[in-house]
Symmetry: C2
Subunit: 122 residues, 2 copies
């Protein structure tokens, strides 16, 4: 359990690679993560977990099969569990994510974009 | 389930009363809420839920029985379930909160500061 406050911007500043989620804190059965995004990810779904995106800076397009949802800073969107999506960031974009613990970044798609959740440096 | 993006600042701008949590979105079994805070709340604990605070603007002191945790904008802190706390905002402060659905603002303390979770206007 986290015992000290964590600063979102300091956490983001410590991240050097895009598409690498880092755990900020856990709350109940969920993880709150930060990541930097740039370019297009892969189409995938999370069969077990909704996935919340909150844009801190930049711009994120969540491509869904039937439409695109474009998020500016301070915008929140929740991709329901099981819904296919493909994130696209045309500029470097910083996000906060909330999802159930154990949720894998590439969901049911797998492949070489799959990474382990990282912890922030102390 | 939320079908459109929600803007955190627009939601906060629509809130006219302090200590009135409004639901931004739900994600899995949790609610993500926004509230404006000013002054001191009441000592209470949430026996069933951790409670995440993310300060958007202002300054929040989370008084715990053994110490104070002071949060500036972009700071996150999670009060573990069952831990007594008393929020204090010496200036008007805007926060995002994450906690399990059904969590009551005054927790086990009850009393006249207890309010129902509100929905944002359309």
């Amino acid at each position: 359990m986290t015992t000290d406050a964590v600063n979102v911007q300091a956490a983001l500043d410590s991240i050097t690679e895009v598409w690498q989620p880092h755990r900020l804190v856990s709350v109940n059965d969920s993880d709150v993560k930060v990541a930097k995004l740039l370019g297009e990810f892969v189409w995938h779904a999370h069969p077990e977990s909704d996935e919340l995106f909150l844009v801190v800076s930049g711009s994120l397009t969540l491509q869904l099969r039937d439409r695109d949802v474009v998020l500016a800073p301070n915008d929140i969107f929740v991709v329901p569990k099981g819904v296919e999506h493909c994130p696209l960031a045309v500029e470097e974009t910083a996000v906060i994510m909330v999802e159930l613990q154990g949720t894998v970044n590439t969901g049911d798609a797998g492949g070489d974009r799959t990474v382990d959740l990282r912890e922030l440096p102390d």
